[in-house]
């Protein structure tokens, strides 16, 4: 099997690897970087569990080959708030019961962190409908989404002040 030299930076750690072109980014992050916060839920781009940031943008690591990410900066859920999960959205997920089994949770967080940041920067509290639309690419089977919507509302509301 031909290997392709690929340099990846994951959560600040840069490594140059010989990678088979067919290896999924999700698998390479998990195996080569020993990072467990990337979960594979469907491996066909439908559930959002494997969402990571590539150069700051949420992407599905099960639909991305590692070799496509040569030179890119990749962030996983581990980068948000460390082992104490101190990111404002992580804390809101906890207080609003936005997770149960936790398997889809890293994907939701990585999808929604930029959304929260954009709304905070604009100083706007979006409608629940808008929040639900923002997570329409992620499937959660445990919570019924109720707590996740509440967590996003809280994370934005608390930061822009006067939030409900």
């Amino acid at each position: 099997m031909t290997m392709t030299e690929t340099t990846l930076t994951v959560n600040g750690q840069t490594r140059t690897l010989d990678v088979e072109p067919r290896r999924l980014l999700a698998d390479v992050i998990r195996q080569e970087f020993d990072i467990a916060g990337v979960h594979i839920g469907c491996a066909h781009g439908a559930c959002g569990c494997c969402t990571v940031h590539i150069d700051g943008t949420p992407r599905l690591s099960c639909l991305t080959f590692a070799v496509q990410c040569d030179g890119r900066d990749i962030k996983t859920v581990e980068s948000l708030g460390g082992f104490d999960a101190t990111h404002v959205l992580q804390l809101a997920f906890k207080s609003e019961h936005g997770l149960q089994c936790g398997y889809c949770t890293p994907g939701f967080l990585m999808t929604l962190v930029p959304y929260v940041e954009e709304n905070v920067a604009r100083g706007t509290l979006p409608s629940d409908e808008d929040i639900r639309e923002a997570m329409s690419g992620n499937i959660c089977r445990c919570t019924g989404y109720h707590g996740i919507v509440a967590a996003v509302r809280k994370a934005i509301g608390d930061q822009i002040g006067g939030g409900q």
């Binding site: 066909h44 999960a85 149960q100 936790g102 959660c140 989404y145």
Partner: protein, 780 residues
Amino acid sequence: MKAENPRQIGARVQRFEDTRLLSGAARYIDDIRLPNTLHLSFVRAQVAHGRILEIDTFGLEDIGYPTWVFTGEDIGNLSMKAHQDYPEMQYSEQPLLARDVVRFVGEPVAAVLAEDPYRAEDAAELVFVDYDPLPVVGTMDQARDASIPPIFEGWKNSMFVERQMKGGDLEAARAQAAHVIRRTYRNQRQAGVPMECRGVVAHYTPGDRMLTVWSSTQMPHLVRTYIAEELDLPEARIRVIAPDVGGGFGIKGQVFGEEVLVAWLAIKTGRPVKWIEDRREHLVASLHARDHEHTLEAYVSDDGRLLGLWADISVDVGAYSTFPFTAAGDPGMAAKVMPGPYDFQAYEATFRGFATNKCPIGTYRGVARPSAVFSQERLMDDIAREIGMDPIAFRLRNVIREFPYKNVLGFTYDPGSYAESLEKIRDVLADDIAAAEASKSSATTRTGVGIACFVEQTAHGTPDFTRRRVPIETGYISARVEMQPDGTVVIGLGLQSHGQGLETTMAQVAADALGVLPETIFVRHGDTLTSPYSMGTWGSRGGPLGGGAVHMASMQIAEKLKVLAAHEMQADKDAITLYGGRAYVTDNPDRFVEIRTLARHALRNVENLPEGMIPGLEAEFSLDGPRDGTYANAVHAAVVEIDVPTGKMKLKRFVVVEDCGTILNPLVVDGQVRGGVVQGIGSALFEHFVYDAECQPLTTSFADYLMPQAPEIPDIEVHHIETPTPLTPLGAKGLGEGGAIGPAAAIANAVSNALDVEVSETPLKASAIWHLSAHLRGEA
């Protein structure tokens, strides 16, 4: 024997497990990585029914890397056996790898191992299996057709089982009836579909002769026992660990052939073996659920009293009986629960499970009750409509009001709030009911309100299992509580937590009994080496029985702490209170000793113990359920809006009034209810495993099998009524499954109300709504 200071029980404590799950520090089955591992990929049947002519592994010879292949011929008689000991039940077993015949698409035929998961998949693709096709039994109608041979040799027909349940005098009810209403209702094939697929890792270490099996399971002890018996190994040398489990919903509440096979392969190859199920495998070949058809006939008096009910229940169980709840589980459960929350004393049910060439069915949140309640509650609306009564008023006339109540099958219901729940929901929905009425004149936009009223038997005791003669003989839950020398506490819990928050709620329970903070209590679960033998997490038993067991064990330690405190303070044992980390004299809190000091004395400085006291602070308790269980109840209500010209439906509102007795943690209870409801909404509207005429599955990805996503779902409103049961130590009833039980019925009733039509089946996809609303467009 209640805790004296219930401060934690009932508090909205944020979950301790969340930090791990939010940060990426959780470890699920695919995160179990051992050096030198062989990765397993299955060759699975591509035809629904066929005789295996040849398994050609020639392609692996020059593949260029080491592979290991095992087929049905290599594994002896290893199989999954799930038989109920009734003469009516026809015997079946599923070889861990198919021998001679395959009976559903996805059945494992060969196991291929390689040192890398990608390479194992490549290798599996090079194994060719040649089949001689056999006639397919694809539907329940085909299973009824005597001209189509059953899928098992020697069977007299295509039924795993057909039995009856009855009580009271149905003939008399029929004779007295002013109205006889007969309807047939159907629920489609669907499944729990946890976001994490299944997976197994096994490793045998010759040094300690220990087989360790990691599995994404809800029932580690049952997995251990099955492996021990099937592989003829001493159970003491097997450890089964469920790591973090990414959702279960009953789907992982079975023992699967893969668990046994991976264990066998690890011993056979002498290397760790790992199998991670992919999503397609999960959707076609793990476990399906529902697929019910019920014909009901109700006998009703002229003043709207339900006098009796006749039921004919058929379930398409698929190709094999699953362990431990068997092919008779769903049909029998539907027959058992069909009388529901209503007061009538004549009932007769025939129930059967058909064997077809589909994925086996098994338990999924609610287990037959979503289907039974769909039929029962659609029937209640259809009766009300036919006799001209308001559906809530009709239910209020028939609902059980006096407790304890012995139902028609002899089950005793403990106190609940059936009528109050109905009245509550009527108040909450008053505006919607008025809006629905007003929309009746509209040809374009219709609003409908539908409700479902139900009971859920939870935490039933051993006699209920004995009666069913299932290969799971009991459902008790055990817990071992140990206080350490520094006063912190470890609970070895026989339950397995896969989203229910047991690491928090069980700590709350123990904290109240022991007078310490829940943060100082470490709940270990899902590991047979650290937990006493237990039946696992399923059947809404965790709160009432797991919580009860933790409470009872903790109270034993509390008792010892009090004796010790009384001894040290020269006080009366009964005058000691444990609270806030202190043991103090109840009417003089300044006289106290720290609990951690008592723990130190009990475990280290034992020279301070009263004469005769045995060192140590640990206790174990196994709690069986009450004979007939404890009955949780709820009313669900859906409000829908239908655009008649397009058939587009919007679920505008979903309201739950539920009563699970004592609430251990409202955060968790609300989460369980809401999550269950949204799964139920998926059952009502979207989720459907479709097979073609040859029993080829057509729904093999998330592009075909549609689950609820956030934009379709409204906020789920939850109201509580608390009627603690006298039958469990904390007054708690089960609640994990209830959320999923009512939505299909409530939504179908709302559609029926909106369109003024009878609705007889789910899922209510857009095309179904389009057909049901045809008469309003002048098309029918």
